[in-house]
Symmetry: C2
Subunit: 343 residues, 2 copies
């Protein structure tokens, strides 16, 4: 089968890879109908994360089940499925508490590589959620977003306790930040402030429910958020970047007693203890337990109640993955969808 391999920063190729097979009786193999490129794939692409060897890429996926292992019970060949970027058993104590991304048996789909025609999904019963019927092509795009960016934005909004009466600020205008806005809107937030200086992303932010746009960053951005919130800061802040600057912008934009949901993969961040202490907020985040939210998100998408697939502003065949990486790196695209030939 064809699949994406990253050889070095900036060097992404589509090559022949071995077809996946059932390795454990709890595995499934799915035919990937669509995969995509994540903001986090840009960390190794830009050399911020070290790449030790050529690596299969991709952790987001939707597709049709082709094979299941002997122990798989709830997923059947032919099902249209979506799963999180972390495979989880959904039965351990951590999963049952809603933290499937920290499952004691978790497997990173990123290490398997879903930017490919087929993929092996471990712990298929726990990981995959099947749709009740075949999705439309439009719904497929939404379901693919649910695999990571929607689920992650949703978790960030929940972690930030976005809800009725709350003012929510969103740091980061990538797909996760934008879908955090959608989530905050669905959760009933009163006011949603998108921090963005890109016209295309601002437009999508407004479409997803943002009520205000703040173009300033850093201290100036914080000052603007304070101005808009009676000097107190937002009740809820979503952090969807992962740098020192974005974390401090999020913390300083939040009022005492407020909530920060941080989902940008942390890079070279050290949080100053004393400032954090006297700020008196709630901080929660990390790799999103997307699986917790998937049944609800799949339902919303299959009922056309939300349109998270709108974050995909460039669709390319899998063979053109390299161009997709370039487009995202150069910010020409918010998020790139890769269609397999078999789709």
């Amino acid at each position: 089968m064809r699949g994406v391999i990253m050889y070095a920063p900036g060097d992404v190729r589509v090559e022949e890879r071995a077809d996946p097979v059932i390795e454990e009786p709890t595995d499934a193999v799915i035919r990937v109908t669509a995969a995509c490129i994540c903001g986090s794939d840009l960390w190794p692409y830009r050399g911020t994360d070290t790449l030790r060897a050529p690596a299969p890429m991709g952790h987001e996926y939707v597709g049709v089940v082709e094979q299941v292992g002997a122990d798989v019970k709830s997923i059947t060949v032919g099902d249209f499925v979506v799963g999180s970027f972390i495979a989880s058993d959904d039965t351990c104590e951590i999963c049952r508490a809603g933290y499937q991304s920290h499952c004691i048996h978790r497997v990173s789909m990123g290490a398997i590589g879903t930017q490919a025609e087929r993929v092996r999904v471990p712990l298929a019963d726990g990981t995959l959620v099947a749709t009740s019927r075949q999705p439309t092509p439009h719904q497929v795009r939404g379901l693919l977003a649910a695999s990571d960016v929607l689920g992650t934005g949703w978790f960030a909004a929940v972690a930030a306790e976005a809800g009725p009466g709350k003012t929510v600020a969103v740091v980061g205008d990538g797909a996760v930040g934008l879908l955090g806005i959608l989530a905050a809107q669905r959760l009933g937030a009163e006011r949603i402030i998108a921090m963005s200086r890109h016209a295309d992303r601002q437009a999508l932010a407004l479409r997803f429910g943002a009520t205000d746009i703040v173009e300033e960053r850093g201290d100036e951005g914080v000052a603007r958020i304070k101005e808009l919130t009676g000097g107190l800061g937002a009740h809820s802040v979503i952090e969807a970047v992962g740098t020192q600057e974005s974390m401090m912008q999020a913390i300083r934009s939040t009022r005492a007693g407020g909530h920060i949901g941080y989902v940008g993969v942390s890079h070279d961040v050290a949080l100053p203890g004393r400032e954090l202490f006297f700020a008196g907020q709630h901080l929660h985040g990390g790799p999103a337990p997307v699986r917790r939210f998937l049944p609800e998100l799949v339902e919303l998408i299959m009922n056309d109640e939300i349109d998270p697939g709108a974050v995909f502003d460039l669709t390319l065949p899998l063979e053109d993955a390299a161009e997709g990486y370039r487009a995202m790196d150069e910010r020409r695209a918010i998020k790139v969808l890769l269609e397999t030939e078999s789709a």
Copy 2:
């Protein structure tokens, strides 16, 4: 009047200070019947916090109202009162959300200095809680604990979401950590692990409701907590020290999705972003909004349902404050109560 002044690390004196007067119409002046020395007073005493000039000391207090300003409505001369270490209006948006320690009009009682015969309490209506009747001498000790260490331990337990079915670990065996145990027990925690290597503190921990004692610290302490929790870590961890080591011990002792309530005043702490991110916990803390809990705590104490005053294992006259500081510094005392002559 007589009051405690710290001149330099290790140099604490009891001297004549000007009698406090009503400065604002919202002030009250109280005759302090008992004050005490806080673990946080040891930071400047040990030179960890810089002292710029001789400073009045103390932020915990109970006493009898002697004077009230023209705008004070709910507090009357003769009331027996307790207040938090931070004066707050209890009416601003932050106070109403339960974060009185971050009140937009807050005043630090530590800057006023309550280790004295009398003290001016700003924002008296918002700050002070009056008892329904004169407390017994035993109850006075409990009420004094409520002023900070009990209220702070309680907040830590609430921030750590201690409750039914939860395993709670407590890092720090000072008065706050010990009273965090009492709070966790009252909140219904199933199992409470005290981390302590001092026999007197272990005994008090067990009396307050600890079910297990762990003597190990650092990585070994973390390993013991993991052993006791099926490899997962505690659901809830109270951090009541404020150092890098204690914060990391708390974070590493908590399971994914668990809650850390941190109330040790942060000193030279930098939290590693990446580790925090992948740990996936909830972090909440800071200066405790003791005022939120005071009405409930006063009730519990006046009904003799809890005995937080047990943390005071050394009682001295105010004149002997210097010996009190030495005793706490040398860990000969858990917490020192200072009685005024006027008590």
